[in-house]
C-alpha cells in the first residue's frame, strides 16, 4: 500500500509521506492546546506536536452542547506561534471541516470522537486529502476500518476528558491482543477473522504476516501523569496524546516536561520516579464506571 509509482516529479500526499510524518512523531508527546500561549508552553516542554482545539475534552464534557472544528483564526494563531507540527480536530464524517483545516495548512487532521459526530454512518474518505489523518480506535477492527478509509495514524480512544486512564488501557490491550491473535491463525481462519473484525481481508492478512499495524499507533484518552504515559508506552503505544491532563493540572509547564521525559524513558522507573516528584495537583478525574452511556465519547465512531 505504501509503494507509490516512481516518478521524477515531486509527488505530494502519498501514503508514504502521510504515514512517514507519523513515524517522525514516535516516542513523543502531542499536547492539546487552546491558544498560542499554551502552544508555546507545550513546545518549550518538548512536545513533538500540538493539537489545536477550542475547548479541551474536560471542558467539552462539562459544558455540553455541540462541539465543532475550531475557529480558523485560532488554529492559524497557533500555527504562527510554534515551529512544531500543528494538528486540529474535525468532526467524524465532516469532510468540509477537514477541507478547511487542510486549506489553512494544519499538518494532521484528527477525525475525532471528542467533537460531536456529523455523520452517523460514514467517516471521512481520507484518501481524498493531501493532509494526513489520525483516527481513534477501541479495537483492531475499528483501527482497520479507519486505515481502509485512509487514516495514516491510529490512536486509542480512551475516554477523553476524564483524567482516567482505564479506557485507554482497555483499548491498547484490546488492539494489541487482536493483533497477536491474528498472527497465529491459518489462512482459512483469516477469512472468518476479517468478517468478525468487520475489516478488509487484505489488511487482516497483512497484519497476520507482519504482527503490527501498517501505521503508527499512539495512545490517547485520560492520560494525566508521567506514569500513565509510561504505562501506555510499555503496553505498546508508540507515542502519547495528552488532552486535558496538562492544562487542567496545577503546574502545566512542569507536568508537560515530566510527561515528555517519562515517555522517552518509559522503561526506566528511576527516571519516571524522578520526574513524578512535586508536580502539583493532577487534573480532577472522573470515575468512568459512573459515566452514563450517553456521556461516553469512545462509543462514537462506526
Amino acid at each position: 500500500m505504501s509503494t507509490e509509482p516512481v516518478t521524477s516529479a515531486p509527488v505530494t500526499g502519498t501514503a508514504r509521506v502521510k504515514r512517514g510524518m507519523a513515524e517522525m512523531l514516535k516516542g513523543g508527546v502531542i499536547m492539546d492546546v487552546v491558544n498560542a500561549d499554551q502552544a508555546k508552553i507545550a513546545e518549550d516542554a518538548g512536545a513533538v506536536a500540538v493539537m489545536a482545539l477550542e475547548r479541551v475534552p474536560a471542558d467539552i464534557r462539562a459544558e455540553g452542547g455541540v462541539s465543532r472544528m475550531s475557529d480558523p483564526d485560532m488554529v492559524e494563531g497557533i500555527i504562527n506561534a510554534v515551529s512544531i507540527p500543528v494538528m486540529a480536530k474535525a468532526r467524524i464524517g465532516h469532510f468540509v471541516e477537514a477541507q478547511v483545516l487542510q486549506a489553512i495548512g494544519v499538518d494532521y487532521v484528527d477525525e475525532s470522537e471528542v467533537l460531536t459526530p456529523a455523520d452517523e454512518a460514514n467517516h471521512i474518505d481520507k484518501w481524498a486529502f493531501t493532509v494526513p489523518f489520525v483516527c481513534g480506535a477501541t479495537n483492531l477492527g475499528e483501527a482497520l476500518r479507519r486505515i481502509a478509509e485512509g487514516a495514516a495514524m491510529i490512536r486509542s480512544k480512551g475516554e477523553a476528558g476524564t483524567g482516567n486512564v482505564v479506557e485507554a488501557t482497555r483499548h491498547m490491550r484490546q488492539i494489541r491482543a487482536d493483533i497477536r491473535r491474528l498472527t497465529i491463525l491459518d489462512d482459512t481462519e483469516l477469512f472468518a477473522a476479517a468478517k468478525e473484525l468487520r475489516a478488509p481481508f487484505e489488511l487482516v492478512k497483512e497484519i497476520s504476516e507482519t504482527g503490527k499495524l501498517p501505521v503508527v499507533l499512539f495512545t490517547a484518552g485520560g492520560i494525566a501523569t508521567p506514569a500513565d504515559a509510561a504505562m501506555m508506552m510499555q503496553l505498546g503505544a508508540e507515542g502519547v496524546f495528552v488532552g486535558s491532563g496538562i492544562f487542567k493540572s496545577g503546574d502545566p509547564a512542569k507536568r508537560a516536561a515530566a510527561i515528555v521525559k517519562a515517555t522517552t524513558f518509559h522503561d526506566d522507573p528511576d527516571v519516571i520516579a524522578k520526574v513524578s516528584r512535586g508536580l502539583g495537583e493532577a487534573m480532577v478525574g472522573i470515575n468512568v464506571a459512573t459515566l452514563p452511556d450517553e456521556q461516553r465519547l469512545a462509543t462514537r465512531g462506526w
Binding site: S8, V17, M24, L25, G27, E43, I84, T264
Partner: protein, 195 residues
Amino acid sequence: MIIGVLALQGDVREHLAALAECDVIARPVRRPAELDDVDAIVIPGGESTTMSKLLVDFELFEPLHKRIAEGLPAFGSCAGMIMLADEVLDGRPDQRSLGGIDMTVRRNAFGRQVDSFEKEIELSGVDGPVHAVFIRAPWVERVGEGVTVIGEVDGRIVAVRQRNVLATAFHPELTGDLRVHRLFVDMARAQQTEG
C-alpha cells in the same frame, strides 16, 4: 563495528533496521554510558526541538558534541541534519544543534506537511537514482569550505558531507533502500581503519 542510533525520539526503529542489514551492530543510545560504546552515531528523523531539549536534560549533549568534534562518524536524516548543522535558521531561540558540518540549515524550508513529497534524485557516491522522501524537510542555505554537496532538489542542497559527517534532508530509512546507510557504514569503517 557498533553504530548507535540516538533514541530520544523519532524514527529510531527504521534506522536500527536499516543498519542491521548493513552488517553492523546497531544499538539505541539514550544515555552517556551507551554513547561510550559506539563507533559511529545516527541522528534519526523526528522533531529537532524535542531532541535538542532531551539531549540537554539527560546530559547527552556535551558528550555527543565532544565526540562528533573529535571525529565520531555521524549521519543525520531530516531532524538529524538540523542537529548536525553548525547554524540553524527558523529554529527556537534556545535550540541547540550538535554541529559537525559547516553549514546553515533552514528548518521546514520545503513547507508544512501538505508540501511533503517524494522524488527521485541523484546522489553523488550512490549509483543510480535514489527515491527520496521529504517530510516537512529542511534545506541547506550555506555550506563552508570543506563541505561536499552530494545532492540537490531544484537547486536546493539536500545532502552534504564533511569529513566523517553525512546529512540528508530526506529519509533513506523509510524506503528500504540501503545505499545511503551503506555509504555511511563505509565512511565509518574507513575512519576505523585510519584511526
